[in-house]
């Protein structure tokens, strides 16, 4: 029996590595999903057939409920994918926290099989802290992304916030250390519950100061915490499978944000220049006369669900022999890769989606850059203004294009009130309105003979 368990763990690990490996190319990526499903099935069945598992009805019931909730969650509109992802981090954290709590009380009750070493107890404390803070933190993030009414969208800050946050975490970790040193002490049981409560509170405190534009970072970090809580569970349960799977997934954040500088919070102050507004007719003419157009999508496109209209514009322009490319910033939207998925949904071929580093050298030769609901990722202040929160973030060089057309929802400054000087450049023309409505009007110009 033991051998079957070990072998299936090795098999599942190998399949998970292949699952991630095949994601390196859209052509093989779906094979990766199959590898993942097979690996997971092997791991579940190998655990289930162990002789100590006797309450089969409970397992069947919980798994069935998982399907009942999981299937509809997989069919959300693609604009809601960031919320679904945050919600699944919450579920992952909850599972780790609950299993950790159960393990501790099993051991206290004398029915645990393995002895409670200091090391296992430390891992258990880490599992519970990471699990529960990921649970509430991700719920808050999901609520912000879904724009739930009673969760503030704007960052909530107050004096001494960092002090309070670090204090809460420090108490939780301190108690964790105390419990790890004396796992069997009479007070350890209460201390354990306090740790869990503090972790739940810390998750909320961690997310309230964060606004929508930072969500790609936050989601990636919570993804890493969910992976790490699985690692900690692996240490507790002595499972190499859990340690491996969790540790591999944790790497995501390192890969994505290794290149990003640390931002300094402050506000930019500059002379106010006026933006110039363009009509839809004028914009259509500019596009019509271009030889090449680069479209830079952002969260505004997602909010307006404008991806299908983008496709119509793409068709109208390419039909006229204009070369159209999409410049994709790594953190445009509300999660990494958000724009790619929306554009793929609208049937735009992925060969037209170009990464920031590849498109930037082409920007000076670009006739028209069409900024579509993107803001921070095209703000030139990120290059030199140390006072802005986005200083040091690589941007798409929209400002270097010959002409810039920017579609923007409102005339108000963007998130966090940072002015975007791209909008007031001499070669920039603004189109105010909902991205979908503006694009609709633009496409009509091409269709109804408004343009000859």
């Amino acid at each position: 029996m033991h051998l079957v368990g070990e072998l299936s763990a090795v098999l599942a690990t190998a399949l998970f590595i292949f699952a991630l490996y095949w994601m390196n190319d859209p052509k093989t990526a779906r094979r990766g999903v199959i590898a993942g499903v097979v690996g997971m099935t092997v791991a579940v069945l190998a655990t289930w057939i162990q002789p100590e598992i006797i309450h089969h009805a409970w397992i069947v019931g919980a798994i069935a409920l998982g399907f009942v909730v999981g299937v509809p969650l997989s069919r959300v509109p693609l604009t809601a994918v960031p919320q679904r992802t945050a919600l699944s981090h919450a579920f992952g954290g909850l599972a780790a926290g609950l299993v950790g709590t159960a393990e501790y009380f099993l051991w206290r009750g004398g029915s645990a099989t393995a002895e409670m070493t200091h090391f296992r107890m430390s891992a258990l404390a880490a599992e519970v802290i990471l699990g529960f803070l990921t649970f509430t933190g991700s719920l808050m993030a999901a609520g912000k992304l879904q724009e739930v009414r009673w969760i503030p969208q704007r960052p909530v800050t107050y004096p001494g916030q960092n002090f309070v946050n670090i204090g809460v975490l420090a108490i939780a970790v301190g108690l964790g250390v105390a419990v790890a040193v004396h796992p069997g002490a009479p007070w350890a049981q209460q201390a354990f519950l306090v740790i869990a409560a503090l972790a739940l509170i810390f998750g909320v405190l961690l997310i309230i100061p964060i606004g929508g534009a930072d969500m790609p970072t936050v989601i990636s970090i919570l993804n890493a915490y969910a992976g790490l809580s699985a690692v900690a569970m692996g240490f507790v349960l002595d499972s190499k499978l859990l340690v491996t799977a969790g540790a591999m997934n944790r790497s995501f954040t390192n890969v994505l944000f290794g290149a990003f500088g640390k931002a300094q919070p402050a506000l930019a102050a500059g002379e106010q220049k006026e933006w110039k507004q363009e009509t839809v007719e004028g914009a259509a003419q500019l596009l019509e006369q271009a030889r090449n157009v680069v479209i830079i999508p952002g969260y505004g496109m997602a909010v307006a669900q404008a991806q299908h209209k983008v496709r119509e514009l793409y068709d109208a322009l390419t039909k006229r022999g204009i070369i159209v490319k999409f410049a994709i910033h790594p953190v445009a939207g509300r999660m990494p890769g958000h724009m790619n998925v929306l554009l793929a949904e609208a049937n735009i071929p992925y060969s037209a989606l170009v990464e920031m580093d590849e498109i930037n050298p082409e920007m000076p030769q670009t006739d028209v850059a069409l900024v579509l609901g993107a803001n921070d990722v095209v703000n030139p202040a990120a290059r030199y203004n140390k006072g802005t929160p986005i200083y040091g973030m690589p941007i798409i060089d929209a400002d270097k294009a010959k002409t810039v057309l920017a579609v923007k929802r409102s005339k108000k400054p963007g998130f966090a009130g940072i002015d975007n000087e791209l909008y007031v450049q001499d070669n920039t023309w603004m189109l105010f309105g909902d991205a979908k409505a503006v694009l609709s009007d633009l496409v009509k110009q091409f269709g109804s003979g408004g343009i000859h």
Binding site: I54, V76, S88, A95, L98, T117, A245, G337, N340
Partner: protein
């Protein structure tokens, strides 16, 4: 009982494998990658099954069943939405 050293060894090696593999993932696919890693992180399901299914006190099994439900939701929705998104990526 577990060998602390060997588990740490596994952790370090797995981190390097993860870095190596994920670094090669096309940036195009970061959103599906995230939902795939969600599903794979739900390997915590293994722990939930043991807590739920073994002959433990009722309260413990309830904790386990909630954890099992949460993990299973992630596995099902994670793999299904990943596949749904990947189907949309077409070269031409």
């Amino acid at each position: 009982m577990s060998d602390f050293g060997s588990m740490l060894f596994v952790f370090v090696l797995a981190t390097f494998i993860g870095l190596g593999v994920i670094r090669r993932v096309s940036r195009l696919l970061y959103t599906p990658l995230m939902s795939l890693t969600n599903a794979i992180s739900a390997i915590a399901v293994v722990g939930s099954i043991v807590v739920t299914g073994a002959d433990h006190p009722l309260t413990i099994r309830i904790l386990g069943a909630v954890a099992l439900f949460a993990s299973m939701t992630n596995i099902v929705s994670g793999f299904m939405i990943t596949d749904r998104m990947l189907k949309m990526f077409k070269k031409q």
